[in-house]
Structure formats: C-alpha cells, structure tokens
C-alpha cells in the first residue's frame, strides 16, 4: 500500500497474502522501486515480513507485509539489493530465504557465533594469494575484517566481514519511546548524530501526529548541513592524505574542526548530540549567535574552497583519483546504493530532493559522475558548496516562533517510515507501534548497510594498493551497519 514518508499509517492495512506479497515485491522492485527496509517482526509464534519500497523518481513509499511460518522465497537472485536484508532476516528471525546464494552471518549475534568465524570466498591457483587485513587496524578506526584474493597487485575479489561493532541497539527502542531512545538514536553512528536523531524524531512525530514548528525545522536543517560540511570536508582531507598530498590534507583536517565547533556553538556538542528531541529542538539561536555563525561559516567556506581547489588543480592528485575504484551505474542501481556514492555513479537519488520535506521543500542539486574516486570526491565538493549556501540562506531568513511542539502518545497499531538524507546517504527508520501505543518494533537502515558492498565491487580488478584510497572515498560506518 502507498504510504506517505513521515506520516503514520494503519499497519494492518499493509497485510497481503503470502504469494501476492512476493509477487508484488518483485514487480515493484523490478519497476524502479528500491528496498528501503526488509525485515521480520515476531508475531505470536510466526513472523511478519515487512518490506518498504521507495520510488525515488516519484518520491513515493509503499509498504507491504505478510505473515510467514517458516522458510520463504528468496528474492535475492533477481534483486541483489536484498542480499543483506535476507541474510539479516535469516540471522535474526531464523526464517530461511530459500534460494539465497550464501546465507553468511552478518552480525554474529546468534548464540555460539563468533565474529569473523565463517566461511570465506577462496580463489585457488598457483600464483593467487590471500591478504587478510584487520579486524585490528593500524589507524584509530573501527574494527572490520577484509580479505583480498589477489594475483600480484591485482585484486580478484574483496570480501568484507563486519559485525564486530554489534551493540543490539534496535532492541533498545522496543517498548519505548523513553528518555533514552533519542540518545540511542544519536549514537547509532557517531558521526551522524543529527542524521539518525532526526530520522528517529521524524518517526516518533509521525506516530504522534505532531507538526514540528518551522523554526525548529530550519534549525534542524542547519545542524544536518553542518554535519554534512564537517564530514565531507574531513573526507576530502583524508583522501588527500591517502595520496600523500599534504597541504589539502592538513587544511581540511583543521576546517573539519571549524565546522564541528560551529555545531558546538549551537548545542554544546561538536557532534550535535542533544540538539534534537521529538517535537522540536533543545536549543535556539539568538541574533548574536546567528551573526557569529554567519561569520564563521563565511570564513570556513572560503578556506575550504581554497584548500579543496588545490586538489583539482594538482595534476598528480587528479591522476590518482581518476579511474580508481569505479562503481558503474548499473552496479549502483543493482545494489541499491545511496548517498554521495550513488550520486557519483550517476544515480539521481537525494532524499532532500526526492522525498523533500520540512526545510528542504524546493531543494535542487543535480550531481553526477562516472563512479570513480574523483567523482566521489567532486560530488562531496559540490555538496559542500550547496550546504553552506543552504545554511547561509536559512540564517538570513529564520522564521520566528516556537522551537518545539508537545508530543502526545503514539497512535496504536500504526507504523511510520522516516527518511533523512544523512551525509553518507539515505537513513531509513521504520517504527511500528503495538496496541498499547508503545514501540513494538524499530528497524534502522543506515546508508552503510547498502554501501559496503559497493566498496567490494569498486576493488574488483583494481589494485590492492588503491584500497585505502577507495575506502576513504566511501568512508562507511561500521557501527551504523552493525547496529
């Protein structure tokens, strides 16, 4: 059934007969639909499969569900974008998707499972060798295990095994919302506190039927774009660092801090923690603060422009970026990629435009690319410019009024889909209430959940020495995917 993004609907009306469910899902995914979420909710002794499909061009969301008692038909062979969702259903609910090519564990959260202990792809041959990296890495980054099947410097296949960061956060939302829920949402992925926080607030507000005041919406927009600015700037610097291009690396590293400090100026946290709450925001801007923010934004944007333009003007850098780690548009669409990664491959998906709401009404930004590291870097640069333009515009025309609205109780037996364009891409939260008006199930899909597979594809046929650069160009979250 058709549902509105960010509005609640009666969950019972999404129910379909089992055979019709799989037929409908296949036909929707085959005609421009993209799986936003696909999961199993316990219902008595059985499980209910729920799939949310997004139609990016029309900005439409559809939700279907069906009751299953045992094994069900896997759709992965026809729609590779579902491969991780079906593995997740198998791991969490024990329902076997029949016909799925390889049901490897993804989070190792079943009794007796040990992270990283699983069957891996192997390649045989006299000169083929395997390189295993991680889960403990040389830098201060999150744990993940990477296995390369190589022939000399060339990579045949990269297998990425994650799950070391699993914390069981989805379960923490069940029975809520309570005082802690928003803070769990903010820590889903530490660098996306605003993105996930907003997605959570959006879901709760939809279920309460509350309208967020315009001033609060714009303040949220400012914080989300500051988060995007900080992370995109940091990523461009990190990419420059990986090709040993010092000036851009150092300056972008400092400027990332400037953007984080602007977030701290608003809410006291460099990562925007505690800024959002269901119904509105916790902190308002006065005119002195707005002047200060404008001034800082102007300076930081100018400096970022100078630092980043070095990247495009230095031939040795562009030579390194161009043609490295290509993800074709076909692969991007097949795997259902999101965010700057998808846009760099020519997929026209931006939640701010396709599913626009709140401060993003009328948002336009068209970016595209050929799917290599250069495109992923350049898309970030275009988004940096757009974000600072947005913030500048909002600061000049901040509507007056309250910054929060009272949230009542949640509507019982309802559901809501909340989509937010975090800096890594589309974040999807799916909230489901029980008959008592408490959260019965809460499903989180971080952009990294879709995009990790793209990194593996980018390395195919590439060089193993390009891995760090490719990895930085995606900069995916481990804990966002592992939850």
């Amino acid at each position: 059934m058709k549902v509105g993004h960010l509005s609640s609907f009666d969950f019972g009306s999404a129910d379909l007969d089992s055979s019709i469910f799989f037929e409908t899902a296949a036909s929707r995914l085959g005609s421009g639909g993209r799986a936003l979420a696909y999961f199993a909710v316990p219902e008595g002794k059985a499980h209910r499969l729920v799939m949310a499909v997004g139609f990016d061009r029309e900005g439409r969301v559809e939700v279907y569900s069906t009751l299953v008692h045992g094994p069900f038909k896997a759709l992965t062979p026809s729609f590779p974008q579902l491969h991780l969702f079906e593995r997740e259903i198998f791991e969490q609910a024990g329902l076997k998707p029949e016909g799925h090519p390889w049901l490897k564990p993804i989070r190792f959260n079943t009794p007796g499972a040990e992270p990283g202990i699983a069957d891996y792809f192997t390649v045989h041959g006299s000169q083929v060798h395997e390189v295993a990296v991680g889960p403990v890495h040389a830098g201060v980054i999150e744990p993940g295990h990477f296995r390369f099947q190589c022939h000399g410097e060339r990579v045949f296949h990269l297998e990425i095994m994650l799950g070391y960061q699993h914390r069981g956060l989805e379960k923490r939302f069940i029975g809520g919302p309570d005082g802690r829920s928003i803070h769990y949402a903010e820590t889903l992925a530490g660098d996306t506190a605003i993105g996930h926080g907003w997605a959570y607030c959006g879901a709760v507000e939809a279920l309460c039927g509350v309208n967020v005041p315009p001033r609060a919406q714009i303040l949220r927009g400012i914080m989300l774009e500051l988060e995007r600015l900080a992370n995109h700037t940091g990523d461009l610097g990190a990419m420059a660092g990986d090709v040993a291009y010092l000036p851009a690396a150092s300056f972008c590293g400092r400027l990332r801090g400037d953007f984080l400090n602007m977030s701290a100026l608003v809410c006291g946290s460099r990562f925007g923690r505690n800024m959002l709450k269901p119904g509105g925001v916790n902190f308002d801007l006065d005119s002195a603060l707005m002047q200060e923010l404008k001034l800082r934004l102007e300076n930081a944007s100018r400096d970022v422009g100078n630092a980043v333009s070095l990247l495009w003007e230095t031939a040795s850098v562009t030579d390194r970026f161009e043609g490295t780690g290509v993800v074709s548009k076909q692969v991007a669409e097949g795997l259902g990629l999101v965010g700057p990664t998808a846009r760099a491959s020519g997929v026209g998906l931006d939640t701010r435009r396709n599913f626009s709401s709140g401060p993003y009404e009328g948002f336009t930004l068209s970016v595209s690319g050929s799917g290599d590291v250069y495109s992923r870097a350049y898309v970030r640069w275009l988004e940096i410019q757009k974000s600072s333009e947005l913030i500048g515009g909002w600061l000049n025309a901040l509507p007056a009024g309250p910054v929060e609205a009272e949230c009542g109780g949640l509507k019982p037996d309802s559901a809501a889909v909340s989509l937010v364009e975090g800096w890594r891409g589309q974040i999807c939260h799916f909230a489901l209430t029980g008959s008592d008006g408490k959260l019965r199930y809460y499903k989180i899909v971080d952009p990294s959940f879709h995009n990790w597979q793209a990194l593996a594809m980018a390395l195919r046929g590439g060089e193993i020495s390009d891995f760090p650069l490719c990895n930085k160009s995606f900069n995916l979250s481990y804990c966002g995917r592992d939850l």
């Binding site: 060798h129 395997e130 390189v131 295993a132 990296v133 040389a138 830098g139 000399g152 410097e153 420059a240 990986d242 090709v243 040993a244 291009y245 010092l246 000036p247 690396a249 150092s250 300056f251 400092r254 230095t314 040795s316 850098v317 030579d319 390194r320 490295t324 060089e463 193993i464 020495s465 390009d466 891995f467 760090p468 650069l469």
Partner: protein
C-alpha cells in the same frame, strides 16, 4: 696518507645523517600549516629504541635478526668510499662505484630476506614491490655513474667527484644536468619518498619500504631507521657533490658549504614532497624508466661529444 680529515668526515656523516629526515619533516610540517616534530626527533627515537628489548615472532629465524644488522653494516661500509665535499674518504680504488652499488644491493637483499622470513602477507607484498622497483632503479643509478666516469675520465667515486669543476659544468652542462635529474629521481625512489612511496602512511597495503620492516622492533628497528638516514645522506651527497663543484681551497670552508648543501637538499626534498601527490603504484616504474632514460641519454651525449 693523512687520517684526521677522512676520520672527521666519516664521523660527521655518521652523526649528521639523522638530521636530514628531521629537516624534511619540518619542511613538510610547514607546508601543512603545522609546527612539526623536533629537528632532532630521529636521534631521540634511536636512543629510545636502543633501550628497548626487541620482540620476535615465533615464525621468524636468524635471517630476520640478521637483516637489519647486515643492512646497516653494508651502509656504514659504503660510507668508506663515499666522497665528502668532493674529497675522498678512507677507501678509494678504481671502480669503487661498483663496490658501492653492490653494498647497496646487499642491504636491500637482506632487508627483503628478513621481510620474507616473517611469512606475513603484507611483508611479502612489500618485498615484491621493493625488488620490482629495484630492477628499474639500479640500472638507472649504475648507468648514471658510468656516464659520470666517462665525463671525468675517472673510475673511482672520489676521483669522479673530485675531478668535477666549474669548467666541466661549463663544457658538459647538458650531460651533468641530466645526471643530476636522474640521481634525484633515484634518491626519491630508493629512500621511499613521495612520489614513489609515502614514508608517513600507516596503511600497510600501500607501503613499499615501511611494510617490510613492520615486524622489527627495538635496536633492530633503530638499525633500520639509522640505515635509512645513512642511505638518504649517501644519495644526497652524490647530488650535492655534483651540483657544488669545489670552489675554495680551504677544507673547512668546503666542508661547511657541503653540509649546508646537504641541508638544502633535505629542504628541497621536503618541498617536493609537499607539493605533489604520490604516484599510483603501477606508475612508479615509469618514473624510474625516466631516470634510466636520463642516464642513458647523458652517456650517449658524452660519447658523442
């Protein structure tokens, strides 16, 4: 034969070499808008490492322990034929530049063996890259020295660089300029500097030299770091001797000028590293082939002169 001057020169090289990486780091820090680590950081590191107890993996054998010791010994021995400010050191004999090449080859060989001895996938990868690039770097270096021998009519290092004067630069400038360019490329590649390698990265998959020495620790790591500093001095001093033919007759003045020139070299390397990005790994051989072509051209020009 006097002993005081060669001995002073030798000790000066042994003592001053670790200063060069410090200078490079400060220059790079300046370009990055930072203050950077102390100039003498490598001395502090060496002191700290000598006090530490090495840790050995159970899979390694004596080859792993021998690598750094033989490597640094080869470089210390190589200094004996290395001219200082165009003056001979302890040893000088006909064709000693071939002796120098073999000593450098020996240092590389034992480093690679020690890396392979660990059985680690990373170190094997680094060893393979090191040998692959050596295939291109060594001929470029050898041919360059051969061309210089041809220009000066000498076949010992001290002889060649001692015979270089302003007059030779005036008559054979194109040949010498090509040789200088070739030596500079070889210096960058042999000392794992940008654009061939990145000495600052922590990413094992992209490293060449650094990844081969990942498992060494304590005094053995100190030997490796010290050996790397000596190697940088070695290549740098050949270029310095080349572009700074002796002018004054005073030994002290010449030596002081030479040391200044070496620091200038380090600054130049630092600037170069700051303004260009690293090459894609598969393109490093092209860079080294360019060096080889420069050396070959220099030899051809000289033959035709």
């Amino acid at each position: 034969m006097e002993i005081v001057k060669p001995l002073t020169q030798y000790l000066a090289v042994m003592l001053l070499s670790p200063l060069l990486p410090g200078v490079i780091n400060r220059v790079k820090a300046f370009f990055g808008g930072r203050r950077g680590q102390p100039l003498l950081q490598l001395y502090f590191d060496l002191y700290k490492l000598f006090l530490k107890t090495p840790v050995y993996s159970r899979t390694t054998t004596w080859v792993f322990k021998a690598g750094p010791v033989v490597g640094v010994s080869a470089l210390v021995a190589a200094l004996a034929v290395l001219p200082f400010a165009g003056r001979p050191s302890f040893l000088t004999f006909e064709g000693d530049f071939i002796f120098l090449l073999y000593l450098l080859g020996l240092a590389r060989f034992v480093t690679v063996l020690a890396a392979l001895d660990t059985g680690s996938a990373f170190e094997g990868m680094g060893a393979s890259r090191e040998m692959q690039f050596a295939v291109f770097a060594e001929p470029a270096f050898f041919l360059g020295l051969a061309a210089l021998a041809r220009v000066t009519g000498q076949s010992s290092l001290a002889g060649m660089f001692g015979a270089l004067t302003g007059d030779i630069w005036r008559t054979a400038a194109p040949v010498l300029a090509l040789l200088t360019a070739s030596l500079l490329i070889v210096l960058l590649a042999e000392n794992s500097r940008v654009p061939a390698d990145d000495p600052n990265t922590h990413l094992e998959l992209t490293m060449i030299h650094e990844v081969m020495v990942l498992d060494h620790s304590g005094p053995e790591l100190a030997y490796i770091l010290y050996g790397a500093a000596l190697k940088l001095w070695l290549f740098g001093s050949l270029i310095a001797c080349m572009v700074l033919p002796r002018h004054s007759g005073s030994w002290a003045l010449n030596s002081a000028l030479f040391i200044l020139m070496m620091l200038g070299m380090a600054v130049a390397v630092g600037v170069l590293e700051s303004i260009i990005a690293r090459l894609r790994l598969t393109k490093v051989p092209y860079l080294l082939i360019t060096a080889f072509a420069f050396s070959a051209l220099a030899l051809i020009f000289q033959m035709g002169r």
